[in-house]
Symmetry: C2
Subunit: 227 residues, 2 copies
């Protein structure tokens, strides 16, 4: 079997972060979309800067830093109640509707499943619980143990290490094109869940497979692992 295990990115891939925009809009009418977008971009930027500078701190704290900066940048007055509500939303994300059934079908095919995320373990466990996916994953892998965020090789190495197999035998699934591309560079077999029909990043590399929802992963695995 070519593919023996699958690692999934968490935010945006398994867990729907749309409710964060909704809540942003409720708290800051007219600015919800800009805030959610800047918050996400800044969150990822801070993971890059801290990885490159070896100044790691947990994703939960970085997420909060990014929220505080984005509100200041947009001139939005963030009080503690708003901050707690928005941060708390990260612990209450719902899974995309197709997820549970897709994950169960993949497990039934004998595949080992893991989450490989920038999120610290507490965040991941909380999101897994809130989305009723307890018992679905064999491993929850957080970059917290290596203190480097994606797309650092130390972060991607967690998959091969936990499964004890080369990256090419592990399917890496992400809705973030940059994540799927950089995982391809690392050596994974990769699948991009392109939920928003975004263009491919101009990085000179492409994920091995692409689809619109998590359900498309099944056909891709079947193609690679013919019965």
């Amino acid at each position: 079997m070519t593919i023996q295990a699958i690692t999934f990115d968490a935010y945006g891939t398994l867990f729907d972060v749309y409710s964060i925009s909704e809540l942003s809009e409720k708290i800051f009418p007219g600015s919800g979309a800009s805030l959610a977008e800047m918050w996400r971009d800044k969150q990822i930027e801070y993971t890059h800067l801290r990885s490159m500078c070896s100044m790691y701190k947990p994703f939960w704290e970085i997420t909060q830093d990014a929220l505080i900066f984005s509100c200041r940048r947009l001139g939005l007055r963030l009080d503690l109640a708003g901050q707690n509500a928005l941060m708390g939303q990260y612990a209450r994300l719902h899974a995309f509707p197709e997820n549970l059934s897709v994950l169960q079908q993949l497990r039934a095919r004998g595949l080992k499943l893991a989450i490989l995320s920038n999120g610290n373990l507490q965040m991941l466990q909380s999101a897994v619980d809130a989305s009723l996916m307890q018992g679905v994953f064999h491993h929850l892998l957080s970059v917290d143990v290596v203190k480097k965020f994606k797309t650092s090789p130390e972060a991607y190495q967690l998959g091969p290490d936990v499964f004890g197999m080369p990256a090419k035998n592990i399917l890496f699934v992400s809705s973030n094109c940059w994540d799927a591309c950089c995982a391809t560079w690392f050596g994974y077999t990769t699948f991009w869940v392109n939920r928003t029909a975004a263009p491919l990043e101009e990085l000179g590399v492409a994920p091995h497979g692409e689809g619109r929802t998590l359900a498309d992963v099944i056909a891709f695995v079947e193609k690679l692992n013919p019965a």
Copy 2:
């Protein structure tokens, strides 16, 4: 003397990139500002991803990749003429009006001056020529020799290496807050030319000095190096 040398970031700090927005707007009326902003963000993001993944390629090429992606993302039809015009603008940037006089005053105080930039040497030389700053800098330092972009330590190390002194005796000047902050982590004495009155990045670190134009660097140096 505390400060014996100064390294300057190039784009936005010495060279005014505003003309790029202007030209973008001329080529894509109504979308110039969004394109210029996304182009810049994507350019920096690609330097991060390629540094973390050890997939270096020169800044000129990354800049072009970021332009191509941004146009595709925004649904703008970029033909070769437009691409060449926009890329060519990078080689024809003007310096901010105060620069030449400020740099000459700093040189007259016996300080060694350098540019330390993500840009490859050809881009830097071209921008120095276009902005009539030939002979002003003792060194043009490009990350191209270490194949890691800022904010990697290998990139920041170019300053101490070329000047043969500890980073704390070198003033690192940038208009990008993230650059000034990460250079502070690295060990430089730092100054943020906050041209747009932006809020401080939420990274738990701050540049040692802040001003609105390059001219404010002089007073800061005088404070650190009293006569």
